[in-house]
């Protein structure tokens, strides 16, 4: 067992590249995400309570719920962490002395390599499937409830909403372009089970994806993505999102030229962990909401 839920939430960073990136996406979901950090602070924010004895009771119940593996909260956290954990060390090391400064991307072109479109497509769709599976684990509905997930996407707010916004912008629009939805759908249709098996993220999470073999898991991935394309294109059109518009907002912390967008995608991939960061916040939020109702 790794860190406690208290440590995980207490140790969430208040600055750095992940936080800068998410803040720069605020224009898509204004005021939705305040980067809530700290376990006790999150209890106070979520519940509106400030009595120390009550906070203690809520915190203790949340800890018991999290540490009980049968409740699914740990699986959800593991999913958020796993889909994010590509070769992040590279970017982190390169950035160690850059935090707080504006980062010129050109200097990093030697150390990051853009992924081919197909790999990017598999990444995007796997992240989405991880969101669906984590949602089901956290909220207690069966793991193949695509319909329930799609219905509740419209209810997403706060850290969950900004995570999905980042997914669309950073893993969709920037690497794959304005028609990323149709590109991803045709990409996944042209992927065969053997190719999927070669993807390391898939290798890590395949046991929790519904389906008996790689082929039926691939179908599930395609179905999941297909069912949220309406929500995604709604988000894109409501905000007139284009790769250029997203990049101009990201330019508050990274200098990049328009013709280097695939490098920007690779750079953000290795240097941020927005899924894990906001996933931990989502998890803490839901745990605390349940704990306060049960005590």
């Amino acid at each position: 067992m790794g860190k406690s839920i208290v440590e995980l939430v207490d140790q969430l960073p208040t600055g750095g590249l992940t936080v800068s990136m998410l803040k720069s996406l605020d224009f898509v979901a204004p005021g939705q995400w305040q980067n809530p950090v700290g376990f006790v602070n999150t209890i106070k924010t979520v519940t509106g309570e400030d009595d120390e004895d009550l906070i203690q009771q809520i915190g203790e119940r949340a800890i018991y719920l999290f540490n009980d593996k049968s409740q699914g909260y740990q699986t959800a956290l593991w999913l958020y962490q796993t889909v994010d954990a590509t070769d992040r060390a590279l970017g982190a090391a390169a950035l160690a002395n850059k935090v707080g400064e504006k980062i010129p991307l050109l200097g990093f072109l030697n150390s990051v390599t853009p992924k081919p479109d197909k790999a990017q497509t598999i990444d995007l769709t796997l992240k989405l499937v991880a969101e669906l599976l984590a949602f089901c684990q956290i909220n207690g509905i069966p793991g193949d409830s695509i319909g329930d997930f799609v219905a509740s996407l419209g209810e997403y707010s706060g850290e969950s909403l900004i995570r999905m916004v980042a997914l669309v912008c950073v893993d969709g629009l920037i690497p794959l372009g304005p028609d990323f939805i149709s590109k991803a759908i045709s990409g996944i249709n042209q992927t065969n089970p053997q190719e999927l098996e070669q993807n390391s993220t898939f290798q890590n999470i395949k046991d929790v994806i519904p389906g008996n073999n790689a082929s039926s898991k691939l179908n599930f991935i395609g179905e999941s993505f297909d069912s949220v394309k309406g929500w995604m294109s709604g988000l894109v059109s409501a905000n007139n999102l284009t790769p250029q518009k997203v990049v101009s907002n990201l330019q508050s912390f990274v200098d990049v030229a328009d013709d280097k967008l695939d490098y920007l995608a690779a750079f953000l991939d290795v240097s941020t962990n927005y899924y894990e960061h906001t996933g931990t916040q989502t998890l803490a939020h839901r745990l605390i909401e349940r704990a306060v109702a049960e005590i």
Partner: protein, 169 residues
Amino acid sequence: MILHRGRRVVAALLLSVMLLTTACAPTTPGRFDQAQKESTQQKRGQSVAKTATQGSEFNKFFPKASDGYQRVYTQEKKGFAEAKLKKGGKDIALLSISDTTSTPSAAAKFSNSTKKIGGYPAVEVGKTQTAILVGKYQVKALSRDPSFTASDRADWLENFNLDGLAKLK
């Protein structure tokens, strides 16, 4: 000379403030250490009783939304179900039913109750919650917006199908 001494006083003050705040800081994280230790020593399934009722059983007892409110189910786990109330796109309150078999202290707090809502013992918890005990089930209304007052909470609790819930085994 006087100026010099003044600076030293300020420096000494700053140093003591620093020492005080850093010395106090580590005590805060420790408050949950005991719960962390106890809950990791146990095996799977320790947080929810085996006999607890499935959350899906609870949904039909929740009050229907009306008066411009929207009811959205959020979590449904063994021994627990929760829905939020929204109005004008904003979260106003949470409604929940939980099985106190897993949390005996939750049921115990009603032994001091002097108030009743819908004929069942009721307590106010903290600033945002009203709870009633229906058999072994705790039903709560939790404000998420200041406009949702304690009397709103009592009203919504009465709108649950409480007698139906009381018959649930």
